[in-house]
């Protein structure tokens, strides 16, 4: 396939910005979390594009690690959201302004 690398990097930048927008605009903690996943995915796209540009398989292996770390992050983050919901009865991220349960 013959797609210029710069096009893919540009798309990655747009997707990353949309993820930032989601984090800034939304106050539902789960949607904020999904926006973080969107940003991780945009970074993965840039990694894959540069791995092809190299060509260097290290970039693809790094994406593999990012996906594994994202899985761990989602497990812990969603557990935190469940714990917050138990104490506050809400997942509005504005209510989570103190560490004390």
């Amino acid at each position: 396939m013959n797609i210029p690398t710069m096009h893919v990097i540009g798309l990655s930048a747009v997707l990353f910005t949309l993820g930032v927008l989601g984090v800034l605009v939304r106050r539902n903690a789960i949607v904020v979390f999904m926006s973080v996943e969107l940003m991780l995915n945009a970074a993965n796209l840039a990694f894959i594009a540069f791995a092809r540009e190299g060509p260097n398989l290290g970039g693809q292996v790094f994406v593999f690690f990012v996906i594994a770390v994202a899985a761990a992050e989602v497990a812990v983050g969603l557990a935190l959201i469940v714990a917050i919901f138990r104490t506050k009865r809400s997942i509005d991220i504005d209510l989570v302004s103190q560490l004390r349960g």
């Binding site: 396939m1 210029p4 798309l11 930048a13 106050r27 994202a70 714990a83």
Partner: protein, 171 residues
């Protein structure tokens, strides 16, 4: 315009539209489903960019396992239509302005960086296949791989500890 570019721009439109709808939809379940669309479009990008193994990992782990976890928690909490109190005034316009500034800066950085040619590079045969990725993963990156397994174990224990019911205090 070559067929490759037509496929690229079509998929890019799908990815961007699903990302925008994910941010904009008020129901968290719709957001999750739009994110699945976005992640699947990314997987097809990986296929186009000579990373077939990573594309299948993306579909299995990201669009499969992680999104099922998201949907499970949304339905467990009944959080799909919670009413949120209005936030800061001007939050959305300021956020859009900051996002626009970010994309301008990113674009400037990309344009001023070392540009690459209009053609994709010439790749060795079987680049990004399971055999090649596996050889790099288990030879050059063996220690990070093992550390990742420990990280997943720690995350599993952490999730169990965090969501466990508090034991009743002894009277």
């Amino acid at each position: 315009m070559t067929p490759d570019l037509i496929v690229f721009f079509g998929l890019a439109a799908v990815a961007i539209a699903s990302a925008v709808l994910m941010i904009a939809s008020s129901n968290a379940i719709y957001s999750a489903l739009y994110l699945v669309v976005n992640l699947t479009a990314s997987a097809v990008f990986y296929l186009l960019l000579a990373a077939p193994f990573i594309a299948l990992v993306q579909v299995t782990v990201y669009a499969g396992a992680i999104m099922v976890l998201f949907l499970f928690v949304i339905m467990l909490l009944g959080a799909d239509r919670v009413e949120l109190k209005p936030g800061l005034p001007m939050q959305a316009p300021i956020a859009v302005g900051l996002g626009f500034a970010l994309i301008v800066i990113l674009g400037y950085g990309l344009m001023s960086g070392v540009g690459t040619g209009a053609e994709g590079p010439i790749l060795p045969v079987d680049f990004g296949g399971p055999r090649q990725v596996g050889e790099v993963l288990f030879q050059s990156y063996l220690l990070p791989f093992e550390v990742t397994s420990v990280l997943l174990l720690v995350a599993m224990v952490g999730a169990i500890v965090l969501t466990r019911d508090e034991p009743k205090a002894q009277p």
